[in-house]
């Protein structure tokens, strides 16, 4: 087990190194650099001033030197300064992380809390009116783009309640925060819950046809115990995998939701930073997200061990 963990950790480092090269290279391949973007709001380009900006920001250095400076800074904990706000990158990213983390956490919780139980119900009530309704709901979740759903929610709130659930200032109490994030979290989590519902349903249907389920029922196990303990536990592996994948996909969903609900999280900030070619923000933020995704995947692999005793990594 220890050897496996070390191997996985080294693999994680290798993956992150690869990602760092990809991020760094991609940012420099896209047309236009920060100097072009800075001049965009001036409606002109002055070549001498542009060259000076590039020099000031170190963009005139060879690409390898720029990469080494970034990685060196990262190792030392120096993330540099945002090119746009001219503030330390960490100061820009740090206050936004908890906002997105809360939103993502709530969206994932929404997806799991609704998706898995409803998927189980849909499976055990296969081909009943309830199953049909739930299948339509899950299909809608997969079909509706989250930006459209978000706007629809906003319109309904404004039209019928004269109220709009958008972020304009930090919430003062945890209750306000919960209220403020609940709707966007539901909007972004709806797609994931639909996916989980469908996956749980198909996985459960397969398990429910197994002999040991029939045996459990024959032995007089309760309805709930058969479905939620014997069946769900065996059906849960692909669901756990999808929870991990969805956690990564949520970042994409958050971009749209943070934009529509005007939430000042990292996802929207990242898009703005990409548009502005704010390299220090983009590079460090994408690296952070990469670390999170890689770590989540690692934790999921570990979760397999706990969930399925047949799986052993020590071979």
């Amino acid at each position: 087990m220890a050897a496996y963990l070390i191997r996985r950790f080294l693999l994680m480092l290798l993956t992150l190194f690869g990602i760092s090269i990809v991020i760094f290279a991609l940012l420099r391949i896209v047309p236009g650099n920060i100097a072009d973007i800075l001049f965009s709001s001036a409606g002109m380009i002055n070549p001498a001033d542009k060259a000076q900006i590039e020099k000031d920001l170190g963009l005139d250095q060879p690409i390898v030197v720029q990469y080494a400076q970034w990685i060196g800074g990262l190792v030392r904990g120096d993330l540099g300064y945002s090119y746009i706000s001219e503030k330390p990158t960490l100061d820009e990213i740090a206050p936004r992380l908890p906002i997105s983390a809360k939103l993502a956490g709530m969206a994932l919780a929404f997806a799991v809390l609704f998706g898995i139980p409803l998927g189980v119900i849909s499976a055990v009530r296969q081909n009943t009116p309830l199953d049909y309704v739930l299948r339509v709901v899950s299909l809608s979740g997969l079909s509706l783009p989250s930006f459209w759903l978000g706007l629809l929610i906003l319109m309904v709130c404004v039209r019928y309640f004269g109220w709009i659930p958008i972020y304009t200032e930090p919430p003062k109490t945890w209750w306000n925060e919960l209220l403020l994030f609940a709707i966007p979290a539901a909007a972004v989590g709806f797609r994931s819950s639909a996916l989980m519902m469908r996956l749980t349903r198909s996985s459960m249907l397969e398990v429910l046809r197994q002999d040991y389920i029939r045996t459990a029922r024959a032995k007089g196990a309760s309805y709930a115990k058969v479905n939620f303990v014997h069946a769900l536990r065996n059906a849960v592996l692909p669901i756990v995998t999808i929870v991990g994948i969805e956690a990564a996909f949520l970042v994409g969903g958050l971009i749209v939701t943070e934009t529509v609900f005007n939430i000042p999280g990292v996802a929207r900030f990242l898009v703005e930073a990409i548009r502005s070619r704010d390299y220090p923000i983009v590079q460090n933020l994408v690296m952070f997200i990469a670390v999170c995704v890689v770590s989540i995947n690692f934790l999921i692999d570990m979760a397999y061990l706990a969930l399925d005793p047949r799986i052993a990594y020590e071979k």
């Binding site: 236009g32 072009d36 800075l38 001049f39 001033d49």
Partner: protein, 497 residues
Amino acid sequence: MYHRENSPSMSIHEEATYSVNISSMPIFNNLVVYDQHKAQNSIDALTPELATEWSWSADKKALTFKLREGVKWHDGKPFTSADVKCTFDMLMGKSQNRFRKDPRKDWYFNVEDVTADNPMQATFHLKRPQPAVLAMLASGYTPIYPCHVTAAQMRTNPIGTGPFKFVELKQNESIKLTRDSDYWKKGLPYLDGIEYTIIPNRSTAILGFVAGKFDMTFPTEVSIPLMKDVKSQKPDAVCVLAQTNVATNLIMNRDAPPFNDENVRRALALALDRQAFLDTLFEGKSVIGGALLPPPNGVWGLPPAELKNVIGYGDVKKNREEARKLMEKAGYGPNKHLALKVSTRNLAVYRDPAVILIDQLKDIYIDGELDVVESGIWFAKIARKEYSVGLNLTGAGIDDPDQTFYENFGCGSERNYTNYCNKDLQQQFDAQSQETDPAKRKQLAWEIDKKLQEDVARPILYFSDQGTCWAPYVKNVTIMTNSSYNGFRYEDVWMDK
């Protein structure tokens, strides 16, 4: 109010977008400023700010300002003529304290020097008479900066003498200003502060205004259909439609085929059906004009009667017949269409007219393809001449021929994107620029405007109307009708609630 985008910085002098003026203008004062409650900016509508009075020398080459005493910067330091000199030295590139970008350096090409005659008097020494200098000094684009603060700090933490003090700019979140209780105009400002919530998504922003989250929309950013929506959902909202003096125009790469051929350039100008743009995009509202905004809102532009006889402005059917002949002369025809990319910025106000343009070009054997360019690199692409024909928007900082002619059409100007240069016309620019009789100057400006259209320097499609809405309890807001850059001091705006 909400703000339409992440402000590139807080430094007005380094930017050329009204996104910055709207949130930064309340922090500063000018020497003189356009009367904030006269919708039309003109030389007759100037009011004193940091200058109490001004006078021209007999030869009209020196403009002297007596400065207001007792004015303090927001950090407590006194305002003096040294600050005036510093500001213009920076703008003219003469200072060690340099701007990172200086988009209006060309405005002051005729200023030889600015002198601090004594602590409370400054003089602008001009190379030749130029009445428009006063108009430029009155623009929201011309605040006075403090000598003791660096250009870098002014981008992130500006210090002014204006009615509101800067509190903070949070990227993608908000800009906050608070009332300066020591403002030199006693009793002002009325508001305790102004908060601009940054909401780039227009639907969210408008819904927020309808739901009462904001007292005001971002100025001149509400389209005509959206304004109707607002009025239907919030009937008590006050909505005003105003001309913005932002010209939607065509830029052609004159250095490369096919637009290095005068026939093709003229054909393009003749193919335009300007009224169709207005009917499709603005329900018939907005206005057709030449290089300068036409009356009644514009002070200097060609009136419709004069425009009628300018190339490309008359009968569309006849014009297009002529355009087809020119295209045939250039080697194109029904069996040999010209394929080209119509480049534009990836913003709705650019994309929508570009699509209509492509449709109109079909009539003169041109098969256009829309080339949408990421907004942030639009000007870089133009500067590198990586386009054939582009649809562009150009805002006029002030409604004055000097600003428009020199900046957009002057030989060597950085904002003259097509590098159009007519040496004879440049001399006419100078002649009108030093003319002190406004009526004579207007005649000269009209002649130049006609010539610019004949040269197909940068065909102007229209000047759009845009809306602004505010809650009924917001009082004393005036939206300017011939510039989008000058009316945001907000010192006497108040709320009846």
